[in-house]
Subunit: 663 residues, 2 copies
C-alpha cells in the first residue's frame, strides 16, 4: 500500500451503512452540541462586565439585574427551540425554518447570519479559551495569537476525522467544566450566605477601577448587548437534529434542556458570586490580564491545584466550544449548497462522512478573524452578537409564521389541536419579539464598535449566494437544452488522431499503437522547444526510428502508415503547437472529429506530483478548454507501478473495521 | 479574456528570443549579482563585534587586525574567482567546477553547501535589514518577524516576474548605499585624522560593555569565523556568468572587480571608524537595539535627514541582498535538475524565463528559517558561514584540479602557456588552502552555536539528491526497455467502451455519440449512491429516455445498440463501481482493450474549480492509476464558454510587447 497522507490524518473512508453508528445521544450530544452554549458562560458575563468596568462599583451592582433579563430571554429561547425541534426533526436550523415559512430571501438572510455567527463563535471561543490559559500562566500572554492558531488547527483536524470522535473526546472536559465550575459557584454562594453577604476572598481580586463614567441607561443597554453573547449556541441543537440517534426528537429535546438548564445556573452563579466578591473584568490586551472566571475561582477557593483543574477545564471547554461550529457550519453549508446557493463541493460528504470543504472553509475564515483581531475576545464580541440574534429572530419569526399557517390551513375540527397551535404561535411569537428587540438593542449599542461590519458583510453574502444559484441555473439550462433529441448516428466516422511524442520510448509506442487501433489517420507530433545542432541530430534519429519501427511495419501490414511531423515552439510551450495542429485539422475536415492521444506516465506513488512536470495534465486541461467542441482527449497510461482494479477498489471501499478499532 | 491572476502578478509570458534583452551588464550586474556581497558589509563586521562585545574595549581593539585577515582572504578569493569566470564562461558555479574536476560527489557536496548558503543568505539579509529598520524606528522592534516575512514576499513576487526588473529596480538603493555609506566612512576617517585619533561623536554610541571575559585566541578565532560572513556572496558572479550580456567574461570580470573593491573599502572603513568612535555590537533581541551601522552613522554625522537616507539605503540593500540568492539559487537548481539530481520541475523555465519552482522553494525555505529563528540575525550567522566556506573551498579545489590536469594533458610545446597554467594553479591552490583553513576554523569555532545543524543537513541533502537521480535512472530504464521493438498491429480491434453518466443531458448524449463512433460495444453506467423511492423513479425515467433516444435510433440505423447499466455504490464513490466494470470487461476479453469515455463539463473561467466538484478529474486519475495497462480514458468536453484554438494560442504566445511597455 502506498503511503497515504490523507489516510494518516483523516482516517479510513466511512461507508454509508456505518453512518448510524456515528450519531449522538444526550450524553454524547451535550458536548458536541452544547460546548458553544456552555462555553458562552465564560465570555458572556465577562463581556457585560467589560462595559460596566468604566463605572466601577456602581457598574458591578448592575450585573445581577442584567443577568436576570438575559435569563428571561434564555427561557423564551428555550421554549421556542423546543417547539422548533419537534416541528423540524430533520435539522430545523433557522435557514430551513425561515426559508420554508418566510420565503427564500429570509432563508438566505438567516443562512448568512448563521454563517457569520458560526465563524465568530470559533474565533471567540478559542480567543476566550486562550484568555483563560494566559490568566493561569501569564508568561504565555505574548503568545496569545499563536496559541489561538495552534488550537484552531487541532480542532480542524479532529473534525475532519468525523463527528463521533468529537462527541466522545470532548465529553471529559465538558463534564469536568460543569462539575468544577458548579462546585466553585456553589461553594462561593455558601460562603456568601454564611458570611452575611461579606465573604473574605482567598486570593483578593484586583481593586475595582474608579468610576470614570456614570451608570447611564445607554451604558446598561450596551452591557446587556454584550452580555447577550452568553446565549449564543443555544440554536445548535435545533440546527443539528439529524445528528442524533433515533428517537431523534427525544434525544434532541433532552440535550437542549440539559444545555439551557446548566447554562442558566452558571450565568446566575457567576453574576451572584462576582458581585459579592467584587470581581470586575480586565483588559485582555494588557499583560497581567486575568479573566473573570480566573479571578472568581481564585477569590472563592484560592490558587491551589483545584484552580488549575478548573481553569484547565474552562480552557478546554472554551476552546472546544468552537467545535459546535464545526458540527453546525458544514451541515448548514451542505443544506445551502444542496439548494444551489453555495458551490457544489460544500454538498459532497468527504471520506469520513463529514463535509470536509465546509470544515476547511470555516477553519480558514476563523483563522483570518483571529489574525485580524489579534486573538482578543473583546474586539470580536460586537460582531458576534449581531449574527447570533439576527438568526434567532428569523428562526422564531419563521416558526410563528409556521403555526399561523397551521392554524389557517389545519383541519377545523380538532379544537384542542388548534388551542395547542395557538399556544405555540404565542410562544414563538414572543420569542421573535424578544430576540428582535434584543437585536435592535445590540445593533444600536454596538454599531460603532464593529456591528457595522456585520451589517455590511451579511447583505454582501446574500448577493453572493444568489449569484451562485443563478450560475447553476444557467449551467443547468444550458446543459439540458435540446438534450431530448435522439443521438446522432449520421456523422459516424473515425476521428483524425494527433499523438504528441517527446522521444521514441515505450510510452510513445503504446500511444501510437492505440491511435492506429482507433483511426486510419494518425499523425505524431514532435515539438522542439529550442533549435541548435543537437536538436537536429535528435530529429534525424527520431525520423529513422519512426521509419523502421512504425512506417514500414504498417505498410507491410497493409495499414495506413502514421505520419511523423516536427514543429518548433518559441515559447517552450507544447500547448500552442498542438492547438495549431487541431485548428489545422478542423479546417481541413469541417465537421470531422479530432482526437489527441496523450501518452501519460503514471507514477501512482505520492511523490509523483513532485518528481514529474505534469505537463500532460496541463496540456489536457488546455486542450479541453480551447480545442473546440469537436475535440476529445484520450490518455493512454503507462504505469510505473503495476496496479490492478482490485487494488483501487480496496482503497476506495475498505472492509468495515470492527467497532472500537482505532481508525 | 478571462481574468488571469497569474498574469496580473507574474506578468505576460516571455519568448525565447526576448531572453537576450533581459541579460546583465556591469552597471546592472552590480546590484543583481553584488547586493549579497555588498550587503555582507553590514552584518559581517557586526557579527565579529558581537563575539568581541564580551571583552569590552580590548575586544574593540581587535576588530582592525581581524578585518585585515579577512581582507587578505578576500583578495585571494577575488583572484581565484577571476580565473574561474574566465575558465567557465557558462556559469562556473562551484557545482559545475567541483563536478567536472573533482567528480560527482564533490559536485553534489558543493551544490548542497551552496543551496544551504543561498537559503541562509536570504534569511540573514532580510533579518539584518529589518535590524537596520528597527534601529532607526525602535517602535517597530516588536514586529521584527512580520516585517521580515513581508519583505520576503515582496522579493519573491518581484523575482517571479523576471531578472531584468530585479537588476534595474534594485540599482538605485545599491548606488545610494555605496555613496552614502562611503561618504560617512570617508567623513569619519577625515574627522579621526583631523582630531588626532580622538574624534568627538555627534550622537555618542552606548558606552562600551564591561569586559566580562579576557581576549583569548579562541575568542579571536570565533570573532574571525563570524566576521567571515562578510565575504559571502563573492561567488555569485562566477555562478551566474550566463546572465551577462556578451562579451560575458568581460562584463562578469568587471562586475566582480567592482564588488570586491567596494566591499573591501567598506569593510576596512567600518572597522577603522567603529574602533575610533568606540562603536560596539548590541543584542538584537533586546528593545533599544541599534545596529553597528546605525550607531556609526549617528556618531559620525548625527541623526538628521542624512541618517535616515543612509539607514534607508542600508535597509534596502540588506533586504535586497537576499535578491542575489533569488538569481543564483533557481539557476543552481536548474543545473542540478538537468543532471537529474533534483525533481524535473526545477529545470523548467516558467512563463517569464525564470525558474519559478526554484524561486518558490527558496522563498518557502527562507520563510521557515526566519520563523524558526525569530528573524534574529545573530542566531543565523553560524549556519551561514559553514555553507559559504564549504562551497568556496570546493570551488577553489576544483579549479586547482582543473589547472593540474591542463598542465598534465596540455601540449608540451607552449612553455609560456605552461607557466601561466602553473601560476593559475598556484593561485587557486592558495585559494583552496586559505578557504579550507577558514572553514576548519569556522566549523570548530561555531560548532556548538549551530554549525552542527549544517553538518547534519548537508549530508542528508546529498543522500536525497542521489536518491532522486536513482529514481530517474530507474524510470528511464523502465520506459526505454524494449522500446526498439516494432509497433504491434496484430491485436488491431476496437476497444470495449464504458461511459459513466449522471443523467441524460447534452453531456451524456455527446459522450455516447462519441463512444458509438469508436466501438460497437458501448455500455453506459449510471452509479446510484443512495437508495430510496426517489432514486427508483429517477432510474425508471433514465431507462425510458435511454430506450427512446439511444436504443431505438441505433437499432433503426443498424448500429449495435449501446447498453444502459445501473450499479449502486455504498461509499458515495463512482470510482469503485467503474473500476469493477473495467475489471469485469478485462476478465471477459483477456487481452482486449477497454476505454472509459468521460463526459466533462469545461467551465474555462477561473471559478470553475470552485463551483464544480471536479469529480471527473479525480475519477480520471484513479482510473489511469488502477485501471491496468489495457485501459485508456477519453475526455469528451462540453464547453460552457465557446472558445477556439486561436484563443488558446494567443494566450500561450502573445505578440511581443514593444520595449518599455509595462508588462
Amino acid at each position: 500500500m502506498p503511503v497515504s497522507l490523507a489516510k494518516l490524518f483523516i482516517g479510513r473512508p466511512v461507508a454509508n451503512r456505518e453512518a448510524e453508528d456515528l450519531k449522538l445521544g444526550v450524553i454524547s450530544g451535550l458536548p458536541a452540541m452544547g460546548l458553544d452554549g456552555l462555553g458562552s458562560a465564560s465570555y458572556g458575563p465577562e463581556a457585560a462586565l467589560t462595559i460596566l468596568a468604566a463605572t466601577g462599583a456602581a457598574g458591578l451592582g448592575a450585573i445581577e439585574p442584567i443577568t436576570w433579563v438575559i435569563l428571561i430571554l434564555l427561557v423564551i429561547l428555550f421554549l421556542s427551540y423546543w417547539q422548533t425541534i419537534a416541528a423540524y426533526p430533520n435539522n430545523g436550523g433557522s435557514y430551513i425554518v425561515a426559508k420554508q415559512n418566510l420565503g427564500t430571501n429570509a432563508g438566505l438572510l438567516a443562512a448568512a447570519a448563521l454563517m457569520v455567527d458560526y465563524l465568530l463563535n470559533v474565533a471567540v471561543g478559542i480567543s476566550a479559551g486562550v484568555g483563560a490559559l494566559t490568566s493561569a500562566i501569564p508568561a504565555l500572554h505574548p503568545l496569545t495569537l499563536w496559541l489561538c492558531l495552534g488550537i484552531l488547527i487541532v480542532i480542524t483536524v479532529t473534525n475532519l476525522r468525523g463527528t463521533r470522535e468529537s462527541g466522545l473526546a470532548w465529553a471529559v472536559p465538558t463534564y469536568l467544566f460543569v462539575a468544577s465550575l458548579g462546585f466553585v459557584l456553589a461553594w462561593g454562594s455558601y460562603k456568601i450566605m454564611s458570611s452575611g453577604g461579606q465573604p473574605q476572598p482567598v486570593v483578593a481580586p484586583p481593586e475595582l477601577p474608579k468610576a470614570a463614567a456614570g451608570l447611564t441607561l445607554w451604558l446598561l443597554l450596551r452591557a446587556f448587548a454584550s452580555g447577550c453573547t452568553a446565549m449564543t449556541g443555544v440554536e445548535a441543537v435545533s440546527n443539528g437534529v439529524g445528528a442524533f440517534r433515533e428517537p431523534r426528537v427525544r434525544h434532541a429535546h433532552g440535550t437542549l434542556a440539559a444545555i439551557v438548564g446548566i447554562l442558566g445556573l452558571l450565568l446566575f452563579g457567576i453574576a451572584h458570586v462576582a458581585q459579592a466578591y467584587g470581581v470586575m473584568a480586565m483588559d485582555q490586551t494588557q499583560t497581567g490580564y486575568q479573566s473573570v472566571l480566573s479571578q472568581l475561582v481564585g477569590a472563592v477557593y484560592g490558587r491551589g491545584w483545584f484552580y488549575y483543574v478548573t481553569i484547565g477545564s474552562v480552557l478546554a471547554v472554551l476552546c472546544l466550544s468552537a467545535n459546535t461550529s464545526f458540527v453546525g457550519f458544514p451541515r448548514l453549508c451542505h443544506l445551502v449548497a444542496e439548494d444551489g446557493f453555495l458551490p457544489r463541493p460544500f454538498a459532497v460528504p468527504g471520506r469520513r462522512l463529514v463535509y470536509s470543504v465546509g470544515i476547511l472553509f470555516l477553519a480558514t475564515g476563523a483563522g483570518g478573524l483571529l489574525i485580524i483581531f489579534g486573538g482578543i475576545t473583546d474586539r470580536l464580541i460586537p460582531l458576534f452578537a449581531v449574527g447570533a440574534f439576527l438568526s434567532f429572530t428569523l428562526s422564531q419569526a419563521g416558526m410563528a409564521a409556521h403555526w399561523r399557517r397551521a392554524l389557517r390551513d389545519g383541519p377545523a375540527s380538532s379544537l384542542t389541536g388548534r388551542h395547542t397551535d395557538r399556544a405555540k404561535l404565542a410562544i414563538n411569537g414572543l420569542g421573535a419579539l424578544a430576540t428582535g428587540i434584543a437585536l435592535a438593542v445590540i445593533l444600536a449599542a454596538k454599531f460603532v464598535e464593529g456591528a457595522w461590519l456585520t451589517v455590511i458583510v451579511i447583505p454582501c453574502a446574500i448577493v453572493l449566494l444568489r449569484a451562485i444559484r443563478r450560475y447553476y441555473d444557467d449551467v443547468d439550462r444550458h446543459v439540458l437544452r435540446g438534450s431530448h433529441r435522439r443521438i446522432d448516428l449520421a456523422t459516424h466516422g473515425s476521428p483524425v488522431v494527433i499523438v504528441p511524442i517527446k522521444r521514441w520510448d515505450r510510452l510513445a509506442r503504446k500511444a501510437v499503437e492505440y491511435a492506429v487501433r482507433l483511426s486510419p489517420d494518425v499523425t505524431a507530433l514532435h515539438v522542439m522547444s529550442v533549435g541548435g545542432p543537437d536538436a537536429e541530430d535528435r530529429q534525424d534519429a527520431l525520423r529513422r526510428e519512426w521509419r523502421a519501427l512504425v512506417e514500414q511495419p504498417a505498410i507491410r501490414a497493409g495499414v495506413a502508415p502514421p505520419r511523423l511531423q516536427f514543429v518548433t515552439s518559441e515559447f517552450r510551450s507544447v500547448v500552442a503547437p498542438l492547438l495549431r495542429a487541431v485548428e489545422e485539422v478542423q479546417r481541413r475536415y469541417p465537421g470531422g472529429q479530432v482526437m489527441v492521444v496523450l501518452p501519460e506516465l503514471v507514477e501512482g506513488r505520492w511523490w509523483g506530483y513532485v518528481m514529474h512536470t505534469n505537463r500532460e495534465r496541463r496540456l489536457r486541461a488546455r486542450l479541453l478548454r480551447y480545442g473546440g467542441p469537436r475535440l476529445a482527449v484520450t490518455s493512454v497510461p503507462w504505469q510505473l507501478r503495476e496496479a490492478d482494479p482490485a487494488e483501487g477498489i480496496a482503497e476506495e471501499e475498505p472492509p468495515a473495521a470492527p467497532e472500537g478499532t482505532p481508525a
